[in-house]
């Protein structure tokens, strides 16, 4: 039994490119990876929004209404439902004048038990040091 840890670092803003959504869909795919692995082996995904990437976390996104597409916000909520560790860099939120009131923090309506964590960059850096592999989006 072994676990490989992946850190998904999202640094691009939402909707300008596909990258942030691909980061989240790939991270969510960690939940079904066992079909390819031996019993007991795992791949885990931690997610961190940094730089312009924190803009992905703005709440009340209208992608569904405007483009008939699932929003990045919905994918973040799905990540919470699946108990993925989702972190947002506090310093970068501050840089945009944003607070926890402006971003998606939970997914109670989905039944998620955990919340997004707004953390200092030092904590994200610590996570990155601990991961086996990092994927930058």
């Amino acid at each position: 039994m072994a676990t490989t840890t992946l850190g998904f670092i999202i640094q691009r803003p939402p909707y300008k490119s596909e990258n942030p959504k691909l980061a989240l869909t790939h991270a969510i795919a960690s939940q079904s990876v066992e079909v390819y692995l031996e019993d007991g082996d795992l791949v885990t995904a931690d997610i961190a929004f940094v730089g312009d990437g924190v803009l992905n976390c703005l709440k009340d996104q209208k992608a569904q209404d405007t483009y008939d597409l699932s929003s990045t916000e919905t994918h973040i909520k799905m990540s919470l439902l699946l108990d993925l560790n989702v972190m947002v860099c506090k310093e970068d939120l501050d840089r945009f004048g944003l607070t926890e009131d402006d971003i998606v923090m939970d997914a109670e309506e989905f039944g998620a038990d955990i919340n997004v964590r707004v953390v200092p960059y030092s904590e994200i850096a610590k996570m990155m040091e601990e991961m086996n592999h990092l994927l930058f989006f």
């Binding site: 072994a2 490989t4 992946l6 691009r12 490119s17 596909e18 990258n19 691909l22 869909t25 790939h26 795919a29 960690s30 939940q31 079904s32 990876v33 079909v35 390819y36 692995l37 082996d41 791949v43 995904a45 086996n132 592999h133 990092l134 994927l135 930058f136 989006f137």
Partner: protein, 119 residues
């Protein structure tokens, strides 16, 4: 020898990112490493067969076929491909199609994971 997992999300045409990733895969295979190559998003364009070589556009079908003969395992995100109209019957022979968990599973025993580019 080690195992390298390369993920690339950049399109075939528009930058040289995918060209670089394919060349890197070739260099690793030459050194005797095992290489898994994953394309997702616009990168799935690489999987289309019947690419035509022009001097002004990247052309990687021949390179990919040669690398597959040398042992490259290359897989496209099936959903990303289907969303773009790249169907199984238009996919290069030997080019696999799976869901995103294939990529994550490949990282499990990889010595290095290189996630290259996007748009």
């Amino acid at each position: 020898m080690g195992k390298l997992t390369i993920g690339c999300f950049a399109s075939l045409v528009g930058s040289l990112t995918l060209d670089f990733a394919v060349k890197l895969a070739g260099a690793a295979l030459e050194k005797g490493h095992k290489v898994d190559f994953w394309v997702s998003g616009n990168g799935t364009m690489l999987s289309i067969k019947g690419q035509r070589a022009f001097k002004d556009y990247s052309f990687l079908e021949k390179s990919v076929q040669e690398l597959m003969e040398k042992g490259l395992t290359i897989t496209a995100c099936e959903a990303c491909a289907e969303a773009r109209g790249y169907h199984a019957d238009n996919t290069m022979e030997g080019f696999k199609r799976h869901s995103m968990d294939w990529y994550l599973a490949s990282t499990f025993d990889a010595d290095r994971v290189l996630h290259i580019g996007g748009e």
